[in-house]
């Protein structure tokens, strides 16, 4: 499938900030399931910084903006050719050992509720187990925007029983760890469905490591594995580590916080 | 050099000069309170505190000005950021941070002042008389400044130290002068009276300029002579013109060393030109208080420019 992305993030500061530093994971991963035809990231008034592929295989690009500025726009535009690999991440070069994803983070720490959730789940092999876990998470957390926020942890989301894709991914990662399955958070895009069901174009899901297959994506929020409607950007231990844009503004005060405005459109384009 | 290092050097100087001034405030206040006054010594102390910008802090902690509390507040009290103890501690801490930008003599002078201060703080308060305390401060302030003059390399660090001294001193001279003229003496009929002269003389004493003044002017102490001495006389080490000339000189040296003229240098030169063209009559026409208020504002503007250009680290080439 050919997907076009138009993703604009605007940061507004009520008081001018002295400078802004950002680190982007905004470039589609290079693997068998996807290929960029054209791709452009632009930061208003920005100077591109160092660029490299990190240990997890993701393209990282630094940006700086010398202030004072009152607004910054990050625009991402491009077209990606995708293919359905049933969620399997193939032909992807990375150096981090899967075992390193068994360490828990604050967002994916285990709580009693998580143990209960996975307690009864068993399966013949890892892949089946991974599917079962993803189903269990999908059943435990109803999709409902607005009840959780950026810093909600897996344990909190499970208690609420509601959340968005970030929460599904965090809970699934935590559950996988109970079974000693390395799991990580993936951020990316999801194109609109034909039936017009509600979805998040800027999307997130989890990858679980399955012996023999490698990393396999599971989108518990949509009860499926990522297919050709998905574009994979980058990964990390949790949402913060995998964030497509991390940034710090110098001179930001709690009295004059930043306001964020995100517009994303991901469409399947005519061939 | 690192902007933060320049900033630390600048603040070593400002704090040492401020410690010196606080001691002088203490001295002048005590002397004034020894003579009979129409308002009682409390109101005079009040005025002094007002001028030093320390009144509110004092009131909220101690209430009415009582000599012993005043000594505590101006000398020992860490709640008062301008007390001698606070200033010497801050100067030494700034020195410790940039230890390697100082000669061992300068560090020794700073560190010795700090170590002796800690000893003073341990002593019984009643065993410490005021003149011993003020002498002690002035001696150490002079020791630090003297070792800077005698041993620091004449590089940019030396300029930042001197700019700190000059800026702080100009500000303090203007404030001390303002206390005397505007606050201590609210009623015009006192001008020129015996009481007035005594107070003026006390002020000169506090500035360590009592004898110098007589050498320079002779005869009666008059408001005009004092104003000339403390504002316009380039021979006086504490006059505004001396301090501003010092800043213009050191900013000029920096501009030359760095190959870049700055807004700070322009401001210092403009301020100096204005002082050079000024007369006492015109100052009195404008009103001494008004004149000094304007000067304090201009010098603060100069301080801000120095901060923005050199000390904040925000400069771009």
């Amino acid at each position: 499938m050919r997907l076009t992305v138009d993703h604009v993030t605007t940061y507004r500061y009520s008081q001018p900030v002295r400078s802004v530093v950002q680190s982007h994971r905004l470039t589609p991963s290079v693997h068998e399931g996807q290929k960029s035809l054209d791709w452009d990231v632009l930061v208003s008034d920005g100077v591109p910084g160092g660029s490299y592929r990190d240990g997890a295989g993701d393209r990282v690009q630094g940006w700086t903006v010398a202030g004072p500025v009152t607004a910054i726009t990050v625009s991402v535009r491009g077209t990606v050719e995708t293919e359905d690999t049933s969620g399997v991440l193939r032909g992807y070069r990375e150096s981090v050992a899967p075992g390193a994803y068994l360490r828990e983070t604050e967002a994916t720490a285990l709580g009693a509720g998580l143990r209960d959730l996975v307690a009864g789940i068993a399966a013949a092999d890892r892949l089946e187990l991974a599917h079962a876990l993803a189903d269990a998470v999908a059943g435990a957390i109803a999709y409902r925007p607005g009840v959780t926020h950026a810093h909600t942890t897996a344990a909190e989301a499970l208690t609420l029983g509601e959340g968005v894709c970030q929460d599904h991914a965090h809970v699934l990662i935590a559950c996988a760890r109970v079974h000693a399955i390395p799991a990580r958070y993936v951020s990316g895009y999801l194109s609109a469905t034909e039936d017009g069901a509600p979805h998040e174009a800027a999307h997130a899901w989890a990858e679980l490591h399955v012996p023999g297959l490698g990393w396999v994506g599971f989108d518990a929020a949509n009860r499926c594995c990522p297919d050709d409607r998905y574009i994979r950007l980058g990964s990390g231990s949790d949402a913060r580590a995998a964030a497509p844009i991390r940034g710090i503004a110098r001179g930001l005060t709690s009295a004059a916080p930043e306001a964020l405005d995100v517009v994303v459109a991901v469409l399947a384009s005519e061939q | 050099m690192l902007s933060r290092t320049a900033d630390n050097l600048y603040w070593i100087a400002r704090y040492m000069e401020r410690a010196d001034t606080s001691a002088r405030f203490l001295d002048v206040g005590s002397r004034i309170s020894l003579i009979p006054s129409t308002h009682g010594y409390r109101s005079e102390w009040d005025s002094l505190l007002q001028a030093s910008g320390m009144a509110e802090g004092f009131r909220s902690k101690y209430g009415d000005p009582v000599q012993r509390n005043l000594e505590s507040w101006l000398f020992f009290d860490r709640d008062n950021p301008s007390s001698v103890a606070s200033c010497i501690t801050a100067a030494r801490e700034n020195g410790r941070i940039v230890r390697t930008a100082l000669t061992s003599q300068v560090w020794d002078a700073l560190n010795t002042a700090f170590q002796e201060l800690k000893q003073l703080e341990r002593e019984e308060r009643s065993a410490l008389d005021l003149s011993r305390l003020t002498d002690w401060v002035m001696r150490h302030a002079a020791m630090v400044r003297g070792s800077i003059d005698a041993t620091q390399l004449r590089k940019d660090g030396f300029d930042f130290l001197n700019i700190g001294y000059d800026l702080e001193r100009a500000d303090n001279t203007a404030r001390l002068l303002d206390v005397k003229y505007y606050v201590l003496l609210p009623r015009a009929e006192f001008v020129g009276s015996g009481l007035d002269n005594y107070q003026w003389t006390t002020l000169l004493r506090a500035m360590g300029a009592h004898r110098a003044f007589h050498w320079a002017y002779g005869g009666e102490v008059t408001a005009a002579k004092i104003a000339h001495f403390l504002i316009l006389n380039p021979q006086s080490p504490r006059s505004l013109i001396t301090c501003v000339a010092g800043m213009a000189n050191h900013l000029g040296r920096l501009a030359k060393a760095y190959g870049r003229e700055t807004e700070a240098l322009d401001k210092a030169r403009a301020l100096l030109a204005e002082l050079e063209g000024e007369t006492v009559d015109r100052i009195f026409d404008e009103g001494l208080h008004e004149y000094l208020t304007r000067f304090v504002r201009d010098s603060a503007g100069l301080g801000l420019a120095i901060h923005d250009i050199y000390l904040s680290g925000e400069m771009r080439t």
Partner: protein
Amino acid sequence: MTTYFNEMTGTGGDLRLPYARLQDWVQSMPVELRTLKQAEAEALFRRIGITFAVYGEGGDPDRLIPFDMFPRVFAAAEWARLEKGIKQRARALNAFLVDVYGRGEIIRAGRIPARLIHENEAYEKEVAGFVPPKGVYSHIVGIDIVRTGPEEFFVLEDNCRTPSGVSYMLENREIMMRMFPALFRENRIEPVDNYSEALRRTLASVAPAKCRGEPNIVILTPGHFNSAYYEHSLLADLMGVDLVEGQDLFVEGEFVYARTTEGPKRVDVIYRRIDDDYLDPLCFRPDSMVGVPGLMDVYRSGGVSICSAPGAGVADDKAVYTYVPEMVRFYLGEEPILNNVPTWQCGKPDDCGYVLANLADLVVKEVHGSGGYGMLVGPKASAAEVEAFRLKIAADPDNYIAQPTLALSTVPTFVEEGVAPRHVDLRPYCLVGERIELVPGGLTRVALKEGSLVVNSSQGGGVKDTWVLAE
């Protein structure tokens, strides 16, 4: 009763050669003179401002580490062997770091458990796949060594991140030379004051690929409240480089710059004395106030070098320590010259059983602890302390290792009653860059309390000048 090896008199009481000339020196110094000299030394230390703040103890923030004037001496031959062993270990540790962040061959070969590395807090995913300039992760390796006999040396632990204490090595020597010049004429003692030059050379040799010309080096300190600030400032001064805090640096485009009075100045090599977690709030702890936002992106893209490299800590973890001799064999194909202390890992059930059964005879340490805190010295502990530790170990066995109580060697030390033996250890500082260099000397720490085996300055330890005699 344990007999301890006395480095001056051996176990038999005969004067050992390296200390031969010190006998007369001690005897020629009456108590009054000694007291005078001790006071002089203290005044010198205070004057130069070398103090040590102890966390969480309150009291004098400008406390001095007690300095003992009786030097610790190594003969040339003794040192030669130590030097070979230390350099060998430093090479192996760096080879290990490059490997575990790269292909992980030692893990594939089954010589070290993957779990121990990948699930280790100190393993930094952010640097996986990255090879720092010259393949060096740990540029200053501090190796803590104890001695139990004439030929018996053991490595107690490795410090691959930012080992501190080298300022004491330098200042102790400076002060000894000032106070006892005659001693230095009589004994031919190898100098240590070329350390700063060697450090500078080491740091310059690992300048990043994008550096043009002479690299601009800085030392990054957490700030003047840090207990080791004096050391940071001394090293900066001796090397003639800027001592910066995080706020003095900023990232613009592909590089890091220092804020100076003349505008931004590019920085090529950062000798950092802050932990990985605080280096870059964008990458690690977002609440870090002492780091530089964006630093890691510049680092990974070759715009700046960070020494030691982020992630170096995985090599000096106490659980990984057990495998260092294996690293020497695996990477260098050599037999280790310096031995490890036998170590039981409480995470292994068999080991744990042994440890719990023999607690009163063992030293138990937290895997991630340092500074002598969170440690049990079995033979010196009360029954209640032992029992308290038993519970701690049972609750979290992975977090503890145990070692036999070593019969640490002693060196004569000035005490109130005269001269008496006190236990010591040694921390030499090995520099790894384009070359490996080791200054002949190090920091000797001494447990000043009679019978104490804990040399940490935070727990009543002092320091001594450490001599290596020339051939």
